[in-house]
């Protein structure tokens, strides 16, 4: 299971998915609102996932 953190909902969960894209679909995450971080590295959405991975969906912020 992949460890997931969704910042917007302040939610931690475990999920099964083959890649980031399908994980986002499964969790109904709006792709335009997040940056995806896998194991502390900014990650493209077609990236494959392993069971030991930790994925964070962090909100895009742009205020100043």
């Amino acid at each position: 299971m992949v460890k997931v953190f969704i910042e917007k909902e302040n939610k931690k969960l475990n999920a099964k998915a083959v890649d980031i894209e399908s994980l986002m679909k499964k969790l109904s995450i709006n792709r335009e609102e997040v940056i995806v971080v896998k194991n502390s590295e900014l990650t493209p959405r077609n990236e494959k996932l392993k069971d030991t991975d930790e994925v964070k969906f962090l909100s895009v912020i742009s205020g100043g």
Partner: protein, 288 residues
Amino acid sequence: MQYSRIRKILDINQLRKKTVTIVGLGSLGSFTALLLAKNGVNLNLIDFDKVSVENLSSQLYSRKDLKKYKARALSKYLKRINPEIKIKSINTRLTSSNLKLLDSDLVIDCTDNLETRFLIDSYVQKPWIHTAAVKTVGLVYVVRNSLSDLYNARVSEDSCEQHGILNTAANMIASIAATQAIKILLEKDYEKDLIRFNIWSNSFDRIKVKPRKHSKQVIIKLCKNNYSVNINKKISLDSLSKRYITILRNKNLIIIKSENTKIIINSKGYIIFEDSNKEFIEKWLKSL
């Protein structure tokens, strides 16, 4: 005397020779400017906006600054804090027509929109500091390659609307940004990862960002009818200047007009389309 206690930590003589341009003088910009001014750094302060009452809780301004230009009000305040430094206050919006305003030792982006950030990215040819914040979260990232390494997919901007920033978060992010700035100015090793901090939950992320080779071109919608695209290959600016009306040209950048669209092109392959639409952009890119 003013610097006697920090001289053991910083090479103040070196810092006093440097000038930093801060674009955007809201929460992040005003506090970052304060920290740099106290350390003897000269400043170019850019903001088109005037101080309004809702700015007072999270920005450095006071009631007597209301309705005054932020750049002017901040400059006046910082001159009282440190009369030794040179401050240029620039009461205008940074646009594709005045990018020369960015010429300095270092640029710090404290704006609230991707459009201006991508403009900075297209013009500045050395590392610059990107900051952003909303509510209790903020980030600092030194852009060494391209901002599109970070915003490489279509993103929806929170800042097209107005969102507040907790002043403690703004202070925290300004402190990180100013420290990074000092390290860059003194040619010290600085943090290369993206730093992201939530002051409410005290959660801290250090995120690695690698230069991207995109498999496909992604057209990123910015605010209004502006778009950005990274085509990931070098562009010959000479051939473009022959084909189109040229508004501005320098070594690494050209601004041209095609139909009603203003196009800002960086020789590295980074393009901004102002006042445009996706159909036009796709057609134009094919003709490139």
